[in-house]
Amino acid sequence: MKQTSHYRTLGTRSTTYWLTLLGMLCLVAAGYLAAHRMDVEGHWITGMNNQVVWGLPHVFAVLLILAASGALNVASMSSLFERKEYSPWARLSGLLAICLLVGGLIVLVLDLGRPDRLIVAMTYYNFKSIFAWNIFLYTGFILVVTVYLWTLFERSLAGHVRRAGLLAFVWRFVLTSGTGGIFGFLVARQFYDASMIIPVFIVLSLILGTAAFIIISMVLGQWYEDSPDTALLRKLARLMGIFITTELFLVAAFHLTNLYATEHHGVEHFMLVGGGIYTVLFWLGQVVVGGLLPLAMVFLCGRDRFPKTALAAAVLALFGGFCQLYVTIIGGQAYPLVMFPGKRVASSFHDGEVALYNPSMPEWLLGVGGMALAVVMVLLLVRVLPFLPDYRRSRTAA
């Protein structure tokens, strides 16, 4: 196992690096223009409506926020659980966590009906709202991880790394719980109103964060003379596999618990059997392509083809997480509110109907733009500060 105590910046002059950066900047610009148009025209130009009020931007935002929390896995393995093989990558882990969170928050803010009132959100608080708590959890996360990174960068603070790592570890679990709580505390809707959503979101964050780390570290590796360690990638991918197994178990438990209660039979039938796109995304996207397939890849693949397999499995796991959040956030709203059990309801406001939702181009651009912003931040910051391990110098020093 490679060990290092030296770090470096990314000094590549590769054309693919600059083209990637340029492409990501274009996506960021497109996302901003989409958000601007939504702000000027109003949300009627999106697919969102008074039945599905949270749409694709929220799927992307929650995906990025959960991935941010999970991206700290490597840092936690290194600083808290003292697994030395992860130590060289702890800095990148912290950086990725901050960048993903910023990307997610930007999407969330730009989708607000009044994004110009962000200052109101920062100055008026209703502490009974989990949303208000999350504002502190998100900004606090950035602060805590920054302090953690500081202890990693500043050698005189090396004695505080474990304490800072512990704080970041606890904070990210609370953050993910808070994000799950946004849905878990909604008593009105059949598919939410379940504390089980919180552990489901926590494990999903571990999957998404690990997958994001594998992808980013391997993408950076192509511009990096000393590519990431195959053995480490194998460990990370298998860790992701364990998380996927756990998530499949939790999701099964969630649905089985619902199926036990007659009042939830309607929504369960909708999600598992008759929900159209939501049923397809659940079984095909979340369970098969985003769950069982990456699971088989990371546990059954041979050692020689592992780096590429790990990358493919991570991409599929991200796709599975996207499907899971789409089904949860949008499918959960598409199923009609049950106000009068045992009665069929009809109205001009689409009561009793499965809600229509077709994601629009501005929503796609805003969501993808948020992801691209996170990537741009990583690509630029690794050039500015020494986030990447310098194996060559470490070996020479040894």
Binding site: D39, E41, G42, H43, W44, N49, N50, Q51, V53, W54, L112, G113, R114, P115, R117, L118, V120, A121, Y124, Y125, N126, K128, S129, I130, F131, A132, I135, I182, F185, L186, V187, A188, R189, Q333, L337, M339, F340, G342, K343, R344, V345, A346, S347, S348, F349, H350, D351, L356
Partner: protein, 250 residues
């Protein structure tokens, strides 16, 4: 705290009130009774009291499926005429047609903000823009609503709408805004002038007389009396929100 909000609609300052009271005496001799009523109206600086809790009783047996008087009155009162986009146009009150799946019994009722004692929309609002007045009316402060729509997600009655596009010709007593959330105000501008909500007035005059408005806390009042004398129910009673809107023959 959100519940401490005071009425801040168009001003009637004390000096003007005294002037009007003086003029009222002369006007009354000439038959100007309405001026006396205006002079004796509550001061706008006066806080609402929790001794009052405004509410509604809706008798579904008197509400016919084809009648839309309450909806039309609300739309006219607050200028809620939409853009011809049913998925995004706001609705503060709507008619629901119900059919019992087992017996086939049909009924119809208006659904609007239920002005809950424990409103989920107020609980989840991050900025406190959704608030409940001491007299039980649940409102949205359009100046602090950031348009996050969490309250729309939280409402068990689908009573809230998000304003999806720019508005024009708004009523001065019913401010609205693109990018914010809105719902039934129980015609607070009328209630604060001792008048009944527009929907109730229309139901009495043009509809089946199914809606009764009043003070749930006033034991001698018509609403509390009707609730005491006849069985009634709350929609989603299981949530224990203690709604201000009650239904009969549901």
């Amino acid at each position: 705290m959100p519940t401490d909000r005071k009425r801040t609609d168009d001003a009637l300052n004390p000096d003007r009130r005294r002037l009007l009271a003086g003029a009222a005496g002369m006007a009354a001799m000439g038959g100007g009774f309405s001026i006396i009523r205006l002079a004796l109206a509550k001061n706008d600086d006066e806080a609402v009291s929790s001794l009052t809790r405004w509410g509604l009783l809706i008798d579904t047996a008197k509400c016919s499926s084809g009648c839309n008087a309450c909806v039309s009155a609300c739309n006219d009162e607050h200028n809620l005429h939409g853009f011809g986009r049913p998925l995004t146009d706001p609705q503060w009150i709507r008619k629901l047609d119900l059919v019992d799946e087992h017996t086939g019994h049909e009924s119809s009722l208006p659904m609007l903000c239920q002005h809950c004692e424990h409103p989920p929309c107020v609980d989840v609002c991050p900025t406190g823009a959704s608030f409940r007045r001491d007299d039980g009316i649940v409102l949205v402060d359009k100046h602090t609503c950031i348009g996050c729509r969490y309250c729309v997600m939280a409402c068990p009655y689908k009573a809230r709408s998000f304003v999806h596009e720019a508005l024009s010709n708004q009523k001065s007593y019913s401010p609205r805004g693109k990018g914010t959330v809105e719902s039934c105000t129980l015609c607070v501008h009328r209630v604060d002038r001792d008048r009944t909500p527009a929907c109730v007035e229309a139901c009495q005059s043009d509809g089946g007389g199914a809606m009764v408005f009043g003070d749930l806390n006033d034991e001698s009042g018509v609403l509390a009396g009707a609730l005491r004398d006849h069985p009634s129910s709350q929609v989603r009673r299981d949530l224990d929100l203690n709604t201000g809107v009650r239904y009969r023959n549901l």
